[in-house]
Amino acid sequence: MFYREAGDFKTSYRDDNQTFPIRLDRAGYWVAIAVAFGIVPFFVNDYWVNAIFAPFFIYAIAALGLNILTGYAGQVSLGTGGFMAVGAYAVYKLMVAFPEINIIFHVLMAGGITAVVGVLFGLPSLRIKGFYLAVATLASQFFLIWLFNKVPWFYNYSASGQINAPERSVFGIIVTGPNTEAWAKYLICLVFLVGVAWMARNLTRGMTGRKWMGIRDMDIAAEIIGVNPLMAKMTAFAVSSFFVGVAGALFFAVYLGAAEAGESFGISKSFLILFMIIIGGLGSIFGSFAGAAFMVLMPVFLKNVLVGGMGWPTDLAAHFEFMIVGGLIVFFLIVEPHGLAQLWRLTKEKLRLWPFPH
């Protein structure tokens, strides 16, 4: 009844091209932003931030990154964990080397460094396609993790081989290190998430995004109509790795505080983020959010129900979680290959007609 464009007249091209053409969508978006920035920070405590909000925001950034590469440009990557590790170690080296520079710039620079590494490992994608590329990206995953474990320069020769985030602040508010307030963690992740999502949205609906999608749908055909495959694939790798690097940097500096390459950024992380975009929906910004939220909330939920509610041992619950994740992925691929985003789209289509059937 409310969710329709009837009566919402567009009088300029600008109006016609806006991100949310339907009034209710637009309002919902602004309300969500206002609640996230204006209300939630006053109520969050450590548990909510550490268990739900911080991982959700950070994984959403990584999922956006992978979705650009896999969902929009069609290049399957199993090296996300490795690229997150690049972001984490880059931000660590920068934080230690230039303590006087604001951490925001460090995170962005870490993203930039990851983008360069991503382009390097993306170069073979010009020759290698499909499964072959998916397996080839495993090379980056294993090689990068090995590199960070074996070369002491990366972890500043610390005895444990771990990296620890020193205390840094933005405008006098501590955002990294053990003394960070919950709301500060929440806000810095949220700021990055909103920025990244805004970038992703506008990149994907413009010319760059259309080129990516052309390459995804059929690269030879795209090349014939004038898309430069080198540029399209390399920009996809660069932008995607930038996002993933930012996610890795935040994951280490803000969320974990201390990290070890193999443990925090192993192959399971790559799969986790791949699952997020499959369940959420390939080639959809909303899907990246939905998938990240789903994969963060489900373990928390299962743990509360199985361990807290039914008194199962934790390891059994963990195995059960594996089964459910695997089963859900197969289920989604069979029933709705386009993920939660497609369900949302269908709901919206239905809503536009409701309550009148025609």
């Binding site: 290698i128 499964f131 998916a134 080839a136 090379a139 030879i220 089964m323 994740v325």
Partner: protein
């Protein structure tokens, strides 16, 4: 011959033996890929699951005992019997056939005609499911697998080489058995696919799905068949790896190594899987031996992948793969 050279030769031989095991896992991938065009990521977890099932049956474990104990508060673990190895192997093979049927019935049937990448991701989901399922069914602790295969240093080779070169080669009996079994398995598969009716049907499906359908070959039966064979190959690989390093989660990670093997050999070629396995096995051992100490060691973690990556840049279809022809 100098000491170094002899040592390198020993490393090469051991690499060959490790390569045989990679090739065994890779073989399962190739079979399924040829018959159904599905890149079955779950092959490694199938090996793990098969080995877990084998150990479980052999030692008379109660399936799902942890789950049952957690729900009903009972405390059961084992049946009061032990099953002889050979019967346990047959039963485990039966379980893998049943598994193949379930996969066809509940997953593949519904995904016919989807893009390859969707099928690939479905098998990743399947791998996760089986990992959790196997752990819930049989427990997640490390198990020792003993089906009576010989293991330990092979005395004969040690003595003979000592007499020849003045340096005894250390080669594990288990590796030799694995090599022999792998050779037998490949021979059996070749004979099966060349001379039996089902084998010919299988090759027909691999060649052209729709043409095979039109002459009356049941695609679904072939899929169940090929997944069963892959399950059996996984069981053999699981026994070998399990006897070598215990049945545990890392088994499925070793199976990841089969992926570069495949890329090197080509996804569609059985000889490619064998030769790719040998190249990777020898390559990573020699690289670790020659260059590893200079750059910090543990290069086996990534060498196979990087080798395959570099190789693919020059030959995107692998050594023996069919030439990739793209039509617009």
């Amino acid at each position: 011959m100098s000491e170094q050279l002899l040592f390198a030769a020993e490393v090469t031989l051991n690499g060959l033996m490790a390569g045989v095991l990679y090739a065994l896992v890779a073989l399962g991938f190739v079979l399924i890929f040829k018959a159904s065009g599905i890149f079955n990521y779950a092959q490694g977890v199938m090996a793990l699951f098969a080995a877990l099932t084998l150990v479980g049956i052999q030692q008379g474990q109660v399936p799902f005992s942890h789950l049952i104990n957690a729900i009903f508060g009972t405390n059961i673990h084992h049946f009061p019997w032990q099953v002889p190895s050979i019967i346990a192997i047959i039963l485990a093979a039966g379980v893998m056939v049943g598994f193949a049927w379930l996969v066809e019935r509940y997953i593949l049937k519904h995904l016919v005609g989807q893009p390859d990448i969707i099928l690939f991701m479905a098998t990743i989901g399947l791998a996760y499911f089986m990992e959790g399922f196997g752990d819930i069914m049989w427990g997640s602790e490390i198990k020792t697998l003993d089906v009576g295969l010989p293991s330990g240093l092979n005395e004969t080779i040690d003595t003979v080489t000592y007499n020849w070169f003045g340096y005894g080669f250390f080669i594990d009996n288990l590796d030799i058995v694995a090599a022999v079994i792998a050779a037998l398995l490949v021979a059996a598969l070749t004979i099966f696919s060349q001379y039996s009716k089902q084998g010919r049907a299988l090759r027909a499906v691999a060649d052209d799905h729709s043409a095979a359908l039109s002459v009356g070959i049941s695609l679904r039966f072939i899929w169940v068949l090929v997944w069963s064979i892959a399950g059996f190959v996984a069981l053999v690989a699981g026994i070998m790896w399990g006897a070598k390093s215990g049945v545990q989660f890392s088994l499925s990670l070793i199976a990841l190594k089969a992926l570069p093997v495949l890329m090197l050999g080509g996804f569609t070629s059985i000889p490619g899987a064998i030769i790719g396995g040998l190249i990777i096995g020898v390559g990573e051992q020699l690289f670790e031996f020659a260059i590893g100490p200079l750059i910090g060691g543990a290069t086996q973690n990534w060498f196979a992948y990087v080798l395959a990556l570099v190789f693919l840049i020059f030959r995107p279809q692998g050594l023996f793969g069919e030439k990739i022809i793209e039509r617009v």
